[in-house]
Amino acid sequence: MENELALLNNYLVVGAMLFGIGVIGFVSRRNMIIIFLAAEMMLQGVSLSLVAWARYHNDFGGQMFVVFIITVAACEAALALALILMLFRASGSLDIALWQHLREANQPAYVDEEIPELEVKSPTWPRLVPAGRQPELDRSDTEHRPSV
C-alpha cells in the first residue's frame, strides 16, 4: 500500500507527543486536578504505543496490556479524586504548593510571589474614663486632640 502514513513509527511519534506534553503539564502546573489530567495523558501516550506494537506484530497481547492499563487508570482516577477532595477539604485550595512540607528535608521551600502586606495603622482612639471622674490628660492627648 503506497502513500501510507499510519506506520508504526508514526504511531510512536503521536504517543511520544502525548507523553511529552503530559510530562510538561505534570511538571509545570500547580492545580492538583490538572496534574492528574496530565498523568492521564501520559498513560494514553503509552497505551497508543502499545496498540501500535500490537498491530505491528499482529498479536493482540499489546491490546491486553491496554485493557489492563485502562482498568488501573480507572482505579487511579477514583483514588486520586478522593485524595484531591480530602486535601481540598483540609486546606481549602487545590494548590499543590500548600503541601510542600512533604518535600525532602534539604530542599528549599517554594516561595510564592510575595504579596506586599497592607499596613494598617491603628488610629489613636480617645481613651475613656469611668463616668464621674475628671479625665487625666497627658501631653500626647493634648497634642493629638487639640480641642480637649
Binding site: 499510519a6 502525548l18 511538571v27 492545580n31 496498540v51 479524586l81 478522593a82 504548593a97
Partner: protein
C-alpha cells in the same frame, strides 16, 4: 486516489496533539477537561485505525464517558467562586519545557530511528487480529485461552502461551478494593472541631 487510512490518521493525530497542547496551555480547569475529552476521543479513533476495536470502544466508554465525568464532578465539588488559576511564573514554564522537551526529543528520535519500524505491520503470518475483530479473542484470552495460539506448531512453546485469567482476577479485586477505599476516603465526615488547622506553609515560609 485518496488513501482514507492516511487521511484519518493525519486527522486524528492532529486533533490529539492539538488538544493535548490546549490541555497544558489552557487556564480554565473546565475547558481543560473538555480539551482532554476531545484528545482522548481522537486517541480512540487512532485505536480504531490500528485495528483495535475493542480497546477503542473501551476507551470511549470508560475514559470519555466515565473518568472525565468523574473529573468534572471533582472540579465542581472543589469549585470555590470563579475557577481560580494558580499563578505560574515563566521560570516554571522554562524549567518544565526544558525537562519535558528534552524527554520529548529523545522519544521522537527513538521512534524515528529504526528503519524496520517504518512499515505498518510485519508480514501477516498469523492474521488473527487483522481486520479488527478483536472482541472474541480478547474475551477468550481473559478467560485463559489464547485462540490465536492454539495451533502453535512447536509443542515446547505451547505451554508458555497462557491467557490472562490471573491478571484479570487480580485487577478485578484491585478495582473493587480501590473503589471501596475511595468511597471511604471521600465520604463527608462530621467535623469535630469548629475550625480546622489550615496548613499554610507557603505563606509562613
Amino acid at each position: 486516489m485518496i488513501n482514507w487510512h492516511t487521511c484519518f490518521f493525519l486527522l486524528f493525530a492532529t486533533i490529539t496533539c492539538a488538544f493535548a497542547v490546549a490541555v497544558v496551555v489552557s487556564a480554565n480547569v473546565v475547558r481543560m477537561a473538555v480539551c482532554l475529552i476531545a484528545s482522548l476521543a481522537a486517541v480512540s479513533g487512532l485505536y480504531f485505525l490500528a485495528a483495535a476495536d475493542f480497546v477503542a470502544a473501551m476507551q470511549l466508554m470508560i475514559y470519555v464517558g466515565g473518568t472525565l465525568v468523574l473529573l468534572v464532578f471533582g472540579v465542581m465539588l472543589t469549585a470555590r467562586g470563579p475557577f481560580v488559576s494558580m499563578k505560574i511564573t515563566p521560570a516554571n514554564w522554562l524549567m518544565a519545557g526544558l525537562a519535558g522537551g528534552a524527554l520529548l526529543i529523545l522519544l521522537l528520535c527513538a521512534a524515528t530511528s529504526v528503519d524496520a519500524w517504518k512499515t505498518a505491520a510485519v508480514a501477516a503470518s498469523a492474521p488473527a487480529a487483522e481486520g479488527g475483530h478483536t472482541v472474541a479473542p480478547i474475551g477468550m484470552a481473559l478467560l485463559g485461552i489464547r485462540v490465536d495460539a492454539l495451533e502453535q506448531a512447536n509443542p515446547a512453546l505451547r505451554g508458555g502461551i497462557a491467557g490472562y485469567l490471573l491478571p484479570f482476577e487480580i485487577v478485578s479485586v484491585h478495582l473493587l478494593v480501590v473503589l471501596v477505599g475511595a468511597a471511604h476516603l471521600a465520604r463527608a465526615r462530621r467535623r469535630r472541631r469548629p475550625a480546622e488547622a489550615v496548613p499554610d506553609a507557603s505563606r509562613s515560609a
